[in-house]
């Protein structure tokens, strides 16, 4: 183990790994890592963390709000993505097939002027439980909030209805932006075939 007194911060290493450092800083970090194993091992940990995040996400083990460009990128890389577009205040019949990697819901909504967006989610199979997703990221220009579901869990669920409500949050309170209903068919069948 080589001892170096001036270690790099995790921010510098994150910027370095994710192409956010300028060329001069990248060269300086390259040089530092050539003599400092402590920082190298910290970077190894970040790389492993990144690989882990990628792994659990593509396994459908975690949900995420994302963008349409990101979903198209996933499809371009060969992931099997099943998408449902739900009109403003609309509903859709949906399902997930065993071979699907990710299940995506496009919730069309008037997002112009919205500063903060929350969502409420409720399933008919657990009517007493309401999940609130707070401060979800969105692009106001996109005209939709895009939700990548916890697909691995969805594959295990029986027939049910899920309701999503988008809320615009302002300093004075909240305003309902739209309500979306998913009629989910638990066993892959005709709904899957129709969605393709």
């Amino acid at each position: 183990m080589n001892a170096v007194s001036d270690h790099l911060s995790i921010d510098v290493l994150l910027d370095y790994w994710l192409h956010d450092s300028d060329p001069a800083t990248t060269d300086a970090v390259d040089e530092h890592l050539m003599r400092c194993d402590a920082c190298g091992e910290l970077l190894d940990g970040l790389i492993a963390l990144g690989e882990g995040v990628r792994g659990v996400f593509t396994a459908g083990a975690v949900p995420a709000m994302a963008s349409d460009a990101f979903v198209q990128h996933l499809k371009g890389q060969g992931l099997r993505v099943r998408e449902y577009r739900v009109p403003h205040n609309g509903s859709v019949n949906c399902a997930v097939a065993p071979e699907d990697d990710l299940l995506v819901a496009h919730l069309e909504a008037p997002l112009q002027g919205v500063e903060r967006l929350d969502a409420l989610a409720q399933l008919s199979i657990a009517p007493d439980v309401q999940h609130r997703l707070q401060d979800i990221p969105f692009d106001p220009q996109a005209g939709e909030a895009l939700y990548i579901l916890k697909t691995a869990e969805m594959k295990q669920l029986p027939d049910h209805t899920a309701q999503f409500t988008l809320l615009a949050v302002h300093p004075g309170g909240t305003k309902e932006l739209g309500r979306y209903t998913f009629h989910h068919q638990g066993v892959a069948g005709t709904a899957v075939d129709r969605a393709r």
């Binding site: 994150l14 390259d30 040089e31 890592l33 003599r35 963390l49 882990g52 995040v53 659990v56 990221p137």
Partner: protein, 193 residues
Amino acid sequence: MQALDAAATDSPEVQAARRIAGAAPGEAREAEAELYRLLAPRARRYGLRHLRDAHAAADLMQQVMGLTIERLRSGRLREPERVLSFVLGACRLTVMDQRRGERRREDLLQRYADLLSPADLHVAPRLDRQRLADCLERLPERERSVLVMSFYDDQPSEEVGRQLGLSAGNVRVIRHRGVDKLRRCVDAGRRAA
């Protein structure tokens, strides 16, 4: 790269390089193994960062270490105390070569195959996938989204921000906060196990 050499005047890497250079070719096997143990992981990291492919990074590591040891054995690396800057320079040239599609490393890989064993390299511990998923799910939506979109394809903050309607600076702040929480959560699980 002078600072790199100045900081390593009497480091274990330089000592090993001197022993290799001072011995008859191939007679300083222990020093060669020591140099490999010290520098190969660093060359591999360089390859990971600049080539973004684990196999290509492993190839780069083997090629650079083979070249370094060959130069030390033959006396063509005249200043063993500059071994760190030599390795970094070789990494940079190799990446440029690979980007140009040149393939001239097979000979080195074959000649030093017995010496260049990656068996004892430091590798980051594997993460508990279930624990990581739980920790990731506990993050606020914004942090989770930014981490997923950043790490899925190692995207810079500007690209992630463009897709989420955020500034690059804001993405970096959210990313930092998310990574910090995620590391703490995963580490806490590892300690508890």
